[in-house]
Symmetry: C2
Subunit: 318 residues, 2 copies
Amino acid sequence: MLTKNKKILALSGGVGGAKLALGLKHYLPADQLTVVANTADDFEHLGLSISPDLDTVMYTLAGLNDTDKGWGLAGESWNGLAALERLGGDTWFQLGDQDLATHLLRTQALAQGKTLTEVTELLSQSLNAGVRLLPMSDDPVRTMIETATGELSFQHYFVRDRCAPAVSGFRFEGIETAKAQTEFIQLLQSDELAAVVICPSNPFVSVEPMLSLPGVRAALKQSRAPVVAVSPIVAGMAIKGPAAKMMQELSMPASAQAVANYYGDLLDGFVIDESDAFQAEAIEALGIKTLVTPTIMNDLGDRIDLAQQVVKFSASLL
Amino acid sequence: MLTKNKKILALSGGVGGAKLALGLKHYLPADQLTVVANTADDFEHLGLSISPDLDTVMYTLAGLNDTDKGWGLAGESWNGLAALERLGGDTWFQLGDQDLATHLLRTQALAQGKTLTEVTELLSQSLNAGVRLLPMSDDPVRTMIETATGELSFQHYFVRDRCAPAVSGFRFEGIETAKAQTEFIQLLQSDELAAVVICPSNPFVSVEPMLSLPGVRAALKQSRAPVVAVSPIVAGMAIKGPAAKMMQELSMPASAQAVANYYGDLLDGFVIDESDAFQAEAIEALGIKTLVTPTIMNDLGDRIDLAQQVVKFSASLL
């Protein structure tokens, strides 16, 4: 278990990251875990401010997520979306009836001058997420996907176009002027920080925006706390999402080792799946300590086991 | 049947007015009917632009209204509202899942610079309302209810407080600078106008705002077309809503005759229910021709019958 007064900071994208965040929630005392979620895939749709990764993590921490579908709320209905279709509205982004309430409240609160941090706190408390959940920034950052046919906003690429276009690069609109969320950067700079856990999320579009916020990489390098990532690539495939496809399109091998290489000297430790054990030596050769363990999280027990392994591994790196 | 190239203009509030509007739709050719709906009960809620009367008329004309409940959409679900409650949001205004789609699209379209007329046309066409439906104005007008404990916005009075506060007066915020919708005022001034039908809606909060728009009363007086109202009060009671209660609070008798007296010389004809036949003589004494006929509209046949009676009655007044 973690030393008292020490904290784990977890950086998460959507579904994959949220699984580990949930494991960490169950393993750690509530006041020893802070989860920061990517907001560079946030977007405005039908006049609503939508934060897909933040909501996925929030719903997952609250135990309200649809574990079968992998996203959205359990027991969700789609009557509003059907009505929207009848009215000729945009329906490429699947908005559930319950999920809509989240976006309505967030949009209204932001319009009233609340920060995304404040809104997230209100929503998380109402849903009993039970963990301090922060957006990476209160300023808008928007991932743009560079493709052969031009630049696409992230949700157009990810949802509307189902990740079909070949990716040639990424741009995080607004990143230069965005400020890392205050608690996030303070925790990075704090002696209380025991470890930073980079959840098994897409390195390019989920994790990179958080790392690219002004001051974050510098704070990570200056921190004495180890930085540990869990590979989102297992046996050459992404458990969820387009990470492996992107790697191929960017002329990288789709492998755990390539992810370690991508993060580079930011990492003190890297957690890979047993099926990728043969890559451990090459990763260690990069100067990154490696933990080989089952990383596929099918049930809550898997999530808690992996969380425990990751926390213990990070403690061993001090 | 109506002379070709002549048009009926119906002025409607919500539920009661919408019933007669539907009857008129079935009785008249589509190009000979224009329905104007009150928008002074429009309001902004959860960041959404909501037009309750306009939507009630639109849903009713499209055959999509909930005839049991008397408002909203048939087969409506309330999962978003339940989620909103879980999030601690305002739930005093009942927003159905399908209905929300209407408000989302309208809010977005208005934010993009479309007029309420344009938005209403888009929505009406998508839902096959089949009638030219217009908001009374593209400018915001907001009914304020004066009560002993202060002024209330209309929806706070009507929905949140269930019409409980005693009413002492009304104020239509924005009415001085609002412009009557262009087609509405043009039709009032046109030789094509065969009759104006004031539907059985609340005289004070549904009809009065439409009449109070700059130029409307003057155009009605100058028009050669007869103005015919259908009494919303039958046997001393309002079929729906707080009209009778308001009349008592304003020290008027709650009667058809008092409604005729309220509209005064604006009216050429007044349609009252058989149960109020005894008031016909007194109404005629006001210089208002009177038609006594069954006015309670329980089914579609009743709606069409009354529409036919009203149109024929108006023709007899020329």
